[in-house]
């Protein structure tokens, strides 16, 4: 029989996993459900499900929880400074999912999980197409390199100054916290205004997190398959809103697995691969093969 605790503190004298998990169950469950939704929408190539995922990303991951991978997480990797694992299981699930999904499929995080990416893609779907300014391909190609410059510059700045608040001026993700200085809000307003006309402007050209995930994507296991007809066909290249297709090649640093090209591959009415097969089959029906005598 233990003597009564004279201190009478309400916390458990010895932490157990049950006591650690109790306040985290709900968050873990919602996060897991969100990831399942994102993966189902990705695997089924379903446009309606993709927009449901975007709504959840903006509402829950963004405004409710501010779960966004930030340049500050790259700083954490650099100086190996992490939150306590047992108290922040949901955050580790989020971070782990981002890294693992990038290795498996590429920048899936950018295309489906990131609240800011979901917001700009939703804007792009809502806004009139007539507003869009299509960036000429040579400019787009060069502009996509800016994000790597931003990444290098921000990391260099951090290594010299150790001031991680630089993130406030290099990424707009703080907006989901709704706390900003007038300068931050002004810069955000400029960025969002520009995004009305240039689709996914920040994600394609400026995001240092996207640049980092793009570099990790060189290790991607399950890449998008290409037909032999892709060597000459330019249909997907023209459709890709991320500038991620260049002839037969998919640029892994730019591709966010938005599914636009993969849906085209599956479209037997549009993709030349299927059209050629259908044409050959029809030809065989009209002109049946005769045995050679």
């Amino acid at each position: 029989m233990q003597p009564p605790d004279p201190w009478g503190f309400d916390d458990a004298p010895v932490e157990t996993w049950a006591s650690i998990l109790a306040p985290q169950y709900l968050d873990l469950a919602i996060l897991a459900a969100f990831f399942i939704l994102a993966l189902v929408s990705f695997k089924r190539k379903s446009v309606p499900l993709k927009f449901v995922t975007f709504a959840a990303a903006i509402g829950y991951m963004g405004f409710a929880k501010s779960y966004l991978i930030s340049i500050t997480n790259i700083f954490s990797v650099l100086d190996w400074n992490w939150p306590i694992f047992r108290y922040n299981l949901a955050w580790y699930l989020f971070f782990g999912f981002t890294v693992v999904s990038t290795i498996l499929w590429g920048r899936l995080y950018c295309g489906r999980i990131c609240a800011y990416g979901a917001l700009t893609q939703t804007l792009d779907a809502i806004l009139p197409a007539a507003w869009r300014v299509n960036v000429p391909r040579p400019i787009e190609k060069r502009a996509s390199l800016i994000k790597f410059g931003v990444l290098a510059g921000v990391i260099a700045y951090y290594l010299v100054t150790h001031n991680l608040l630089i993130y406030q001026y290099t990424e707009p993700f703080w907006m989901f916290g709704m706390f900003g200085t007038p300068i931050m809000w002004t810069l955000l307003a400029i960025l969002l205004t520009a995004t009305l006309f240039v689709r996914n402007l920040y994600c394609r050209f400026l995001c240092p997190v996207g640049a980092t995930l793009g570099l990790i994507s060189y290790a991607t296991v399950f890449r998008i398959k290409r037909w032999s007809e892709c060597n000459t066909c330019r249909l997907c290249e023209k459709t890709c809103q991320w500038g991620a297709i260049e002839g037969p090649k998919i640029l892994v640093t730019e591709c966010v697995r938005c599914d636009d090209c993969e849906r085209l591959y599956l479209d037997t009415q549009k993709c030349p691969h299927w059209r050629i097969i259908e044409y050959n089959e029809r030809k065989l029906r009209i002109l049946p093969l005769q045995p050679i005598r």
Partner: protein
């Protein structure tokens, strides 16, 4: 000459031991004294920094005048008492003043590198809510501590280290019968 060499060697060894011990300690503001009067405005004097966990003792009268006077409170860094607890990006450095009844007299947020610190633990109203709290209080976000959504890792860390550090100090230096 031989004695001098031994003394020199002993000093070097002591220096190495001290430096290695300091390397394990989270580096905090080395001059926190200007904060002391805000934590204990009526204090007559303070001890030097020492003890386990590291702390300053607070006295009603200058300990040089009355060396036998008991302390009326303690001032300590949460990073010294809970060195292995981290927020989103390292520990938040809180300087805490607690009296001998386990009542927090004040908290100073001296430094943090939290990305969302500017709207969670930086505003003075965050530390103000800990003034006059007892170590017996629950220190739970959303209950007796105002929660700030979207900065939950930082806020949970802050509430946790303030609760655990004050309770550890209370268990080490106070008498449970004296707690209020």
């Amino acid at each position: 000459m031989k004695k001098f060499s031994v003394l020199f060697l002993a000093l070097v060894m002591a220096g190495i031991v001290t430096l290695s011990a300091q390397a394990r300690r989270v580096f905090t503001n080395p001059r926190p004294e200007p904060y002391f009067k805000s934590l204990f405005p009526n204090a007559g004097g303070f001890s030097t920094f020492g003890g386990t966990p590291l702390h300053y003792k607070v006295y009603d009268v200058d300990p040089k005048v009355n060396p036998s006077a008991p302390p009326v409170g303690y001032i300590f860094w949460t990073t010294d008492v809970m060195p292995n607890d981290f927020g989103y990006h390292g520990p938040v450095h809180f300087l805490v003043g607690m009296d001998t009844h386990g009542i927090i007299q004040g908290v100073v947020m001296d430094y943090n590198s939290e990305p969302y610190g500017y709207f969670s633990v930086d505003p003075p109203k965050f530390v103000e809510q800990f003034k006059n709290k007892s170590v017996r209080d629950p220190f739970q976000l959303g209950k007796d501590i105002a929660a700030v959504s979207r900065a939950s890792i930082t806020m949970n860390h802050a509430a946790r280290v303030l609760r655990d550090a004050t309770r550890t100090m209370a268990k080490t230096f106070l008498n449970p019968a004296d707690l209020k």
